[in-house]
Symmetry: C2
DNA sequence: ACACAACCTAACCCTCACGTCAGGGAAAGG
DNA sequence: CCTTTCCCTGACGTGAGGGTTAGGTTGTGT
């Protein structure tokens, strides 16, 4: 079973991320190895996160790959990737990894419908929402300051032209 | 020459920042020691920066206090404070300390009117302005993502209420 | 003159979210 | 066999500060 991809591209910058998702039959739609699992490089490509970052998130319990290959390669499911994408969306809110971990768990717990603690969960969710709202406000202010400073620079530019 | 402030407040939380700006005559407007110079605590209060941060900026050559007291206290002029405030405005743009240092110098150089390198200076200024504009764009996007996520949270909140 | 409270100093280590090597193993093909 | 390309772990580095410690300075009240 040979491999279709990489038709002789000898030079590369090094550890990049692209390629070799073993055995997708010729003309397959999207690279997909045996069990619908992606390896880290492909995940990085899809999410725009660095390999280091993805590993780091695992180290901190944020997204642990569903499986490992015999040789120890991390193998990510679509759900894993989705989790990573949620994290990406949270990032601008400036939550810490720990907070993100908690929020992820919380959201998962809430999705399990059968939660008896529903009340407590929504309470915690409300707190996260408040924190998020606060951060959004802070961000807005930062943006305003940034715009202001950029304007100042523009000013000095054509004042000194 | 006695001091007006602190009319016997024995308990305090500790290192705060307020107080003893020596000898402002009774009923003075704003605390002012001898030569219109402020000590670090007062600067912190005015700028909203932490003592640590202000010292850190000095360590990195961003704002070196105009003077020191006999005993080694940092003494800041109004110009120093102004510099700190400029830094505060730059911060949301995500420049590194080094970049901010350069930009501060650049702006100062430009103000010295008599610059022969005016051209080169404005060129550098233009580059900073471009960087700033780029960052503003990035910030806007971050804000959008943040708002989006906050909305998602709000959604889950009343979907699960 | 002395004690004192409030302020300051330098010097240290700690945190967070990664980046950056270094050295070695795995997957696939020639 | 060898080569590529990808992946692994482990360890150290970085940026922008935070916190703590042990001690010096300043102005004041008595």
């Amino acid at each position: 079973m040979p491999r279709p991809d990489r038709p002789t591209s000898p030079a590369s910058t090094s550890d990049g991320a692209a390629d070799r998702p073993p055995a997708g039959d010729e003309g397959a739609v999207t690279a997909r190895p045996r069990a619908g699992l992606l390896q880290i490089g492909q995940v990085a490509e899809r999410t725009g996160l660095s390999l280091r970052t993805i590993r780091f998130y695992e180290e901190n319990g944020l997204v642990v790959p569903t499986a490992r290959s015999e040789g120890g390669y991390r193998l990510y499911s679509d759900a894993d990737v989705a989790r990573l994408e949620v994290i990406k969306r949270m990032k601008p809110l400036g939550f810490s990894l720990e907070e993100m971990r908690q929020l992820l768990t919380l959201l998962a717990d809430l999705t399990v419908a059968g939660a008896h603690h529903r009340e407590a969960l929504t309470d915690r969710l409300r707190m996260f929402h408040e924190a998020a709202t606060a951060r959004v406000g802070a961000l807005r202010e930062q943006l305003a300051v940034a715009e202001g400073f950029a304007a100042t620079l523009a000013d000095r530019l054509d004042r000194a032209r």
